[in-house]
């Protein structure tokens, strides 16, 4: 933790960056994301096992867009998010300094994109064993039961869109769910509306989601919507050998093709 502070302080002191995105102590023993602009503020910077939020999210918000260049305390999920955003032309390498930290909390110092790619390959994926079990359980269900399972799972959804707000990949200025003519996704949080919304979100993240699990963690009613993207990521890895967040120059699966894509259902 000290090492991170030292690096951060130096960066700010030498005015290499104008902003550092990290964490600070919140009320009770909680933590919250924090934005430091002066070296002396770094004292409040902390990093412990509670700092699991994917703060790459803020890179597309105004506070970071205004800063000429900035640094960020990046666990592997954040690093992968940054690489994927870079591949989608959202972040320029020269404007960001990555202070890499492994899942166990060991600081690996400043990473350029090349090093970040190696780092993200070595770190384990965000999928937890119980997520995998849930995917198997659902896939084992018969069709009708699966449908009812998901309709039930989505029924508590009140369309607060916290999942969209917490996902670094959902950086669209005007999200499609807000278009009214034509209204592709019903606004009301009824069963039909919820199902369509989560299906569209899963399709939009197909081949782009780095499986950090923020969407599920930020969902007030804990809907297991992250496993939709987990399942698709595995499928896309098997079928097209394409994985998000692994390199800065990368075309997601649905924007590229090979003439020998295997399929067995087109007559």
């Amino acid at each position: 933790m000290e090492e991170i502070k030292k690096i951060a302080k130096e960066l700010l002191a030498e005015n290499k960056v104008q902003l550092i995105v990290g964490f600070e102590k919140g009320s009770a023993n909680k933590v919250r994301p924090a934005f430091f602009t002066k070296p002396e503020e770094i004292d409040q910077l902390i990093y412990n096992e509670y700092c699991i939020h994917n703060i790459a999210l803020y890179l597309k918000k105004d506070i970071c867009q205004k800063a000429n260049n900035l640094a960020i305390i990046a666990n592997p999920n954040v690093v992968r998010s940054i690489l994927q955003l870079a591949s989608e032309n959202q972040i320029a390498e020269e404007k960001i300094k990555i202070i890499g930290i492994s899942f166990e909390g060991k600081c690996v110092g400043l990473l350029d994109f090349k090093a970040a790619e190696e780092f993200s390959k070595t770190q384990p994926k965000g999928i937890k064993p119980e997520d995998k079990a849930l995917i198997e359980k659902i896939q084992a269900m018969p069709l009708e039961e699966r449908f009812n399972y998901w309709v039930e799972a989505f029924s508590p959804c009140i369309k607060c869109y916290a999942c969209r707000a917490s996902c670094p990949m959902c950086y669209c200025g005007k999200c499609n769910v807000e278009t009214n003519n034509p209204q592709w996704i019903p606004v009301a949080p009824h069963k039909y509306g919820n199902l369509e919304w989560h299906m569209m979100r899963a399709m939009h993240l197909a081949g782009r989601c780095i499986n950090c699990g923020e969407c599920n963690r930020s969902c007030p009613v804990n809907i297991p919507l992250n496993i939709l993207s987990y399942m698709l990521s595995d499928f896309i890895l098997d079928e097209f050998d394409s994985e998000a967040g692994m390199n800065a120059v990368f075309t997601p699966a649905l924007s590229v093709y090979t003439s020998v894509d295997k399929e067995n259902f087109i007559k």
Binding site: I138, L143, M203, A206, L228, M231
Partner: protein
């Protein structure tokens, strides 16, 4: 009770399958009248949200058809479409949407007979599966609940 007549929507590409369906017409090959054709410039243009929209609006079956690989008028539209359908079919199946009701096919401008056969066989299959009540109920009654 008259026998169940499925509502089938066909999303087809203008250069191959639409022309193939025209050829079915000029050759006077009869096929089921339960299908309605919606024309797209290319299969690459067919948006997956239109499929769920079709189910929600009362369709029981959907046919998506375009040019054979390498025959696409725009070179690669059908290749992108193929990848999209592989992913879309996977997520739909995982979410319990009955992908047996969506028939994907390649029909060229010279295959009038094949188009009639695809429509008739899809019509038979959907008749066996019956109306897509669970989705229609979801998108109609459940809205009011």
């Amino acid at each position: 009770m008259s026998e169940f007549e499925p509502k089938i929507v066909a999303f087809v590409c203008n250069w191959c399958t639409y022309a193939g369906a025209d050829l079915t017409g000029t050759s006077r090959i009869k096929y089921s009248a339960n299908v309605r054709i919606v024309r797209f410039p290319c299969t690459g243009r067919i948006d997956y949200m239109l499929l769920t929209k079709a189910f929600a609006s009362g369709a029981d079956g959907i046919i998506v058809s375009g040019c054979h690989p390498n025959d696409c008028h725009y070179t690669s539209g059908n290749f992108y479409a193929r990848r999209r359908w592989m992913v879309f079919k996977k997520i739909c199946d995982f979410m319990g949407i009955d992908t047996r009701r969506i028939v994907f096919s390649w029909v060229s401008a010279a295959e009038g007979g094949k188009w009639a056969e695809i429509v008739n066989s899809t019509n038979e299959e959907i008749k066996k599966l019956g109306p897509y009540e669970s989705y229609h109920k979801l998108s109609t009654q459940d809205i009011l609940a």
